[in-house]
Amino acid sequence: MPIPIDFALIAHQESWRAAADVLAVLRGPYLAPIPDDDLKEIFPWFPPRAVCHIDHRSVLGHSVHGIYIDSFIPPDRLAHKYRHENIERVRDAAACAIKAGARIVSLGGFSSILIEGDSDLLPEKGETVFTTGNTLTVAFVVKGIKKICALQGRDMGEATLLIVGATGDVGSGCARCLAPLVKRVVLNARSIDRLRSLAEELSAGGKAVDIATDLQQLSVQADIVICVASLESPSLLLGRLGPNAIICDAGYPKNLSPVDVLEDCTVFFGGLGQSLGGMSFEPDVHRVLHRHPFPNVGQGCVMEGMVLALEGRFEPFSQGRGFITPERVQEIEAIAARHGIHLAPLYNAQGPLEEVACETEGSADERQIAAPGRAV
């Protein structure tokens, strides 16, 4: 009897390093790693399929079982020009999830394109439901911003918030949640029309809203920045930052390049949740898939499917682009919290931003005290 699959996660590797690590786990401890050249030649040809099984435990005691399906999009072919072939891969991955009988599927990274756009690109789906997972991502981005402001004693009511990638699904959700809490909002993206319509919606609530297609032309200084643009490569020059700005980079690939010099700013990677109940992976690719300095951490979008499965709510919670409301964010956050899934400790490329004792059930060996990175 095959094990019933409660949830499936569809995603892809962000870098060749990550792809190499996945293959190294699959090759096992006795075979030498595949040389980089061969890896790049072989990896893109793998048809999408499950890479590992996952058990996710709720703090309420029960657990759900799922699979991680890799679409094997080559990390250097995420650009727009490969869109069609990548959509095909993600469709194949979705078909794989459906065939496995997954009851709910989270679409991580590029994969959410299948249900985000105007047209529904999903294959015939039977009983399986799909969610982009973006509502939980928004919840964790927003929580992260609030947390760091609180830790630094910052008055959000006096802050100017800049959202890069503001008209996207995650960006617009963050804008709706945070606009009422800040003094002023600046929305950035390339398409002016979509910026205008979001600005109209937000300013109807009485908020001062600016829009900008070019950050260099911006005349205001931002105190809080959320980067959620779907950029092809990590290089985003932030022109206008206030002193001691807070920057949440929640994009994949990262919107901020590691070489961006951001003097006096606090940068953290946003949109991440941590499960206190714990997760186990077979084969054990946990550290490879979730490359965070803390255990049991995952992207909000990926966690959303697991959260809904733990709750027994097999429904397409997040679908389409631009429909994420503060009410829905609160709802998914409450469900996640019920099962012990909360905002992950904050960290950035240099390391953790907080001193945390990470104790999770069933992962005593993974307990760790995170060394403080940059003081907050």
Partner: protein
């Protein structure tokens, strides 16, 4: 007059790129013809262990059809003005044939089908298809047509193999795995970037793999499409994708 001039020019133009690449096509065709001749031998051996007269007839028909493929590839060489060599005792091909004969000795009909139809055919169909897309004129058409024929005749074998798997899933998957280790290791070495064991004993000069880009092919792509086709064939048989991914990930490179 106009038409004649055009025709002459076209002939000269077409002849040129082919003659400059003839030695590459010679090596590519040598592999294809040898592979087809191995298939002839394998199906003929298979006919000898089949008990059901229908299966005997089927195997002999396949052998005949593979002989036709070998002849068609040889004829394509003739059109390019080259003699296509073949060598069923060339290093890798001999090891593949030996693996098949082990199944024959054990009267393992299912094992034979797995080797020939799932493993060898995956590599043949996928690489012929790719060659068919880039090879000029009738050479390309022949590769594409033979790829389509090979794909056609796989259905019958797949039905037999699926029925066999349904009888005892674990036993079937274990058998495929054992044959995967034996046979796919050889194919992976054959399609690797470099021949770890020296010359393949079929290419007429140094290994053709390095020259393939001249005709619009790469050995990496041929290996990629072949492994992909193999994984998809195993999917069609119902083997779990996460299991076969590990198998392929563990092949030598």
């Amino acid at each position: 007059m106009e038409a004649v001039t055009t025709l002459k020019c076209a002939t000269a133009d077409n002849a040129n790129p082919i003659s400059s690449t003839a030695s590459i096509w010679q090596d590519v065709l040598a592999q294809a013809v040898t592979g087809e001749l191995i298939a002839v031998l394998n199906y003929t051996s298979l006919a000898e262990i089949c008990e059901d007269p229908d299966e005997v007839a089927d195997a002999l028909e396949h052998a005949e059809s593979e002989r036709g493929h070998a002849a068609a590839f040889t004829a394509e060489g003739g059109k390019l003005g080259i003699v296509v060599p073949n060598n069923v005792n060339a290093k890798y091909w001999k090891r593949l044939r030996t693996a098949f004969l082990r199944q024959i000795d054990a009267r393992g009909f299912i094992g034979c089908l797995i080797i020939q139809e799932v493993m060898l055919e995956s590599f043949a169909v996928a690489s012929y298809k790719r060659v068919g897309q880039v090879a000029p004129g009738s050479l390309g058409n022949t590769f594409a047509a033979i790829a389509a024929e090979e794909e056609d005749h796989i259905d019958h074998a797949m039905a037999i193999l699926r029925a066999e798997r349904a009888l005892d899933v674990q036993r079937f998957d274990d058998k495929v795995y054992a044959l995967h280790i034996e046979v796919m290791t050889i194919l992976a070495q054959m399609f690797a970037r470099e021949d770890a064991d020296g010359h393949c004993e079929l290419c007429h000069g140094s290994c053709v793999k390095q020259s393939l880009p001249v005709v619009g092919l790469t050995s990496s792509e041929l290996r990629g499409v072949a492994l992909q086709h193999y994984l998809r064939t195993l999917d069609m048989l119902g083997l779990p994708g996460e299991l076969t991914l590990v198998w392929v990930a563990q092949l030598p490179v």
